[in-house]
Symmetry: C2
Subunit: 398 residues, 2 copies
């Protein structure tokens, strides 16, 4: 008798993950622009320790014993949402171990194998892979410099309706989109919310980067424009506090929040980390920290953009108004997947655009993260990238 | 169009949780013996803050940025397992947000609706509820003063085989069982492991309390006796460090560990909490802390036992060799579910035995936790309980 005979069909079907080999760098130490990590300089270690010490001396039983997650955190999240114009209540909020946990649970509540899910093209493939694991059929809707193309969305919805298909949801990153860096315009937000009501379309609005705006006025989230309960908004403390704490949240219709909670296998999300985030955030400390982050990342974005204009005038990009990424259109004829190993030989790691599309297209772009790399290394990183691109280019010319 | 039309069948079927009303105490402040919480006095707040400060000053990028869970923690768990005689490797270990997360994921990997799962009777219903949610048909196997009744287990396995049924697993708490407090004898452990090999039975060995032994020699876990890969052992840092951190683990056959990981929606378990547990535990600090805990809880167990012998000689119990609970057999005719509200009126909260059986039986017992309540309140708590029991008794006599 075999143990494997005991596995459920879905556990049998799934292949265990195969980890990609780490990049092999050349002679020089690799500078990575491939991942949306936080700048280690901006992780508020000392303040977090102070907050933790405060907690353990004042309410040790609440934070280190069995307990539900911190109610104060849900109240903080609701308050921040109300500040954005969302009529939020703590009971409509689910706190989770990072927004990735919520994206991982979504398929259980919303996706039957073969169901259609609409995603932006390009998009954050970390989310899309979880939907695909749930058996979703992915339909991409293009993104341009003003975000998701709403005409294309409407055409897709109409076609699907004609075919008798109701998509389970639209996954959208409206603000400082990952990877494209663009922001969905107000007019488009309004139209998408109208389409949602018209087509019974649930919008999963992932606003991970919304607080990291470098310039311009904040736009209302679709959750604030929607009056009929078609938006699940997902947020995280990873970009504005520390990814390593793993605290994210969702806000939306209570029936959906309740069901997401039912599929969260361990119940609530841990008194220690949730109280820690609430304690750190109290008395305006989070907002003050975010103000510092905005300036810091704005300067890094500017620095990378300047280096790109100087070193790679033949490549183009939409200057992002916030977030962690520049989405670079490569010079004509340069393919991102072919560029990747060459860039590593030149000492810089990038993310090929095809990793941001579910259909393998997109290799006319690369995603460059300016978030983690020390500011003083960004010039050198772009010089190396330019060297690698020119090497491909001269090969093309020859 | 309704949002609820978008829910998957399994999300529709599940009713959102209904929270029980909190107990209404009488005139005196309630003393609770109902829950297996840690003693707040024994939560090592200061040492945890020291460990956290160490981490953020030495490796802030590893603990507060995106990263997999701490490899040092898996090495620590493997080392502790090897100390118990289990040939453990870090790659056979899954770290999770509390052992409850692992119990919550198990059904995805092992249970199809209608599948049979064997559980001890009585058992920890927190686990069993998760199996039931996965559609399991629960079959109870009785527990006596030497733990799970192995003859009954063999008879059950034989009957099921005759009926063409292979149970998906046996869920067992062999050491200081919750709620019965009893410990599975070595001879029985050996026989269960033989039965596992003979019947292709997966043993889910939940050893949450194993480190909290008050007296006697440790017994080898079934995971150490098994040579054919039929044991998934589950452990936790909740009882020996702090429940509020939410760190548990599973060790077992790699094919099973890999699949559990695949159904862990958020991937790894958070660099901050996992590094924190590893850092706290380094250099023998965890083992020293456990030694203190053992003495502390042994004294509280003794104190509750003495109070029971003094105040309630007509009730009986097997003196536990470790853990958090005394499982009290009520005087004949006293029903635990009827006793519960009366006990609350007397100012003490208890867990009726029927909450530890999946079939509603068990109300000839109550579970009394001595773990959380301050030692100096245990005498008063048992006096109140005796008062409530005598009130039921006199009613019975009248």
């Amino acid at each position: 008798m075999q143990l494997s005979e005991l596995f459920t069909p879905q556990a049998r079907e799934l292949a265990p993950p195969i980890w990609a080999a780490p990049p092999v760098a050349g002679a020089i130490p690799l500078i990575s622009l491939a991942y949306g990590l936080a700048d280690p300089l901006m992780l508020p270690g000392e303040e977090l320790i102070e907050a933790a010490a405060q907690l353990t001396s004042n309410k040790i039983g609440e934070v280190l014993n069995y307990a539900p997650d911190a109610r104060s955190l849900k109240m903080l999240i609701a308050e921040r949402l109300r500040h954005e114009g969302v009529a939020a209540e703590p009971r409509q909020i689910l706190v989770a171990y990072g927004s990735s946990q919520i994206l991982g649970i979504l398929p259980h509540v919303l996706i039957n194998p073969g169901d259609t899910v609409l995603v932006e093209a390009p998009t954050f493939m970390g989310a899309v892979r979880m939907f695909a694991r749930g058996g979703a059929r992915l339909v991409g809707v293009p993104v341009d410099s003003a975000g998701l193309d709403v005409d294309a969305l409407e055409a897709t919805l109409r076609e699907l309706r004609a075919a008798g298909v109701r998509p389970r949801f639209l996954y959208s990153i409206p603000t400082f989109q990952n990877p494209a860096g663009v922001t969905l315009s107000l007019a488009r937000r309004q139209r998408i919310v109208q389409l949602a009501a018209e087509y019974g379309l649930l919008i999963v609005e992932d606003d991970a980067y919304v607080d990291l705006r470098f310039r311009g006025e904040p736009l209302p989230p679709m959750a604030a424009l929607d009056t009929e309960g078609w938006v699940l908004r997902i947020g995280t403390f990873s970009k504005i506090l520390a990814p390593g704490l793993r605290v994210g949240w969702a806000h939306g219709p209570k029936a959906l929040i309740d069901r997401l909670f039912m599929f969260k296998p361990e119940g609530s999300s841990g008194p220690f980390v949730t109280h820690l985030v609430a304690e750190f955030s109290a008395d305006g400390r989070l907002e003050a920290h975010i103000a510092v982050l905005r300036q810091h990342y704005a300067a890094k974005c500017e620095r990378m953009a300047n280096a790109l204009r100087r070193e790679l005038p033949e490549a183009s990009f939409v200057m992002p108004e916030g977030g962690f990424f520049i989405w670079l259109r490569l010079p004509s004829g340069v393919n991102a997947t072919e560029l990747e190993p060459l860039a590593i030989q030149h000492g810089v790691e990038i993310l090929p655009g095809s990793r941001c599309f579910s259909d393998g297209s997109g290799d006319d772009h690369i995603r460059l993260a300016f978030s983690e790399t020390p500011a003083e290394q960004l010039d050198e990183a772009i010089r190396r990238l330019a060297g690698a691109i020119r090497e491909v280019g001269s090969y093309l010319d020859s």
